[in-house]
Amino acid sequence: MTTVVHVLNQFFAGFGGEEKADMPVAVIEGTAGAARGLQVQLGEPGQIVCTIYYGDNYFHEHKDEALKALLEAVRSRQPQVVVAGPAFNSGRYGMSCVEICNEIAKTLAIPCVTAMHEENPGVGSYRDFANPNVYCLRTAESTAGMADALKALAKFALRLARGETIGPAAKEGYIGRGIRRLEKAERRGVDRAIDMLLKKIHHEPFETEIPMEVWDDVSPAPALSQINERKLAVVTTSGVVPWGNPDRFKTYRNTHWQKYNIAEVKELEPGKWEAVHGGYNVAYMNKNPHYGVPLDALRSLEAEGKIGGGKLYPAYYVIPGNQGSPAVMRRVGQEIGSDLRNEGVEGVLFVAT
């Protein structure tokens, strides 16, 4: 017999809609709401020992407390597997399902499975966490897909509880989170690569062994005529910051950005600035921070009028880019972009390491 804990929001647990979104974490022994449907799908081999639920808003507004209560409830039941959702296209719910699963898998080492629509923002966090013990299944956009989702969750949960080996996302049907596992191939890499290349040349379908992130396309911004009349700014992912790293940037996976004043600064002297970045050797940059923020060159061009007087924005923007997830970097880009626009900047010199 497999023991299962089901985690739901207040709505799917059957306690009400938006007016109940502030309710704290609570536990019902056995099943409630959608958990009844999951129990039917689990059938004989699985038993839901309890249903844990929480208000959609409560979770996000009291995250630490909510996670603590959830962990405690799960820990005391010691289930073999935890199921959260399905969340379909509900953003708050999807995000909470992913965060809860990640926390349970991380802290209690219990495998978790959730399910939602691929465009749920929770999927971005799921990919960022890339927790090997958390799986997210695809669902329809709306609750019309409830029956299918519960069926798939039940099947997957039982497999996880049994400790079955779960194969790659493409084969198993869960949403990939970019984890690459070593596997033994029959043929050498060079032979496989040449096969792929030949197929590509002959316009035949082939499957890459290293899928890349898909990037959305933006149309090019217009050229800036009379550049010496334009307001310009420097943005960098090099990690050059004032000496002592006052804003405590990490060497990897940063989630916030800063801007540092250079209004009165003619050049960046070594010993007053340093580079914080775990993805390259920062020795050169520490010796000469201009490799990341070329202020000396900008000032001399300013003196010659090639950059207008006062047209260089009096601060530069920085986040150490190392291992920044695309989702975080997109958000950071949006935030810096909107700040630059508010400051009337038109052109950006972006130094990437």
Partner: protein
Amino acid sequence: MSKELEKAGLTVAIVSAMFPVAEQVRAHRIVKGVSIPHPCGDPSLSPELDARLRREIVQTALKALETEVKEPTVFSPNMP
């Protein structure tokens, strides 16, 4: 990140030694940097030549900002 800046309506010149990556993610104005740990300059040069190279890189970036482009375009500074 540079693409989000473009989305916000800013014209961006990205200086990067990994310019093929910048091309792949379809940044539009790409300036060849010297190397990953020192995109804007070359520590193997004398300080004077290094500073001159850095100016050349920044001027190439200004030129890139002034240039109309339709697709990812790589601008190469004159390296010594």
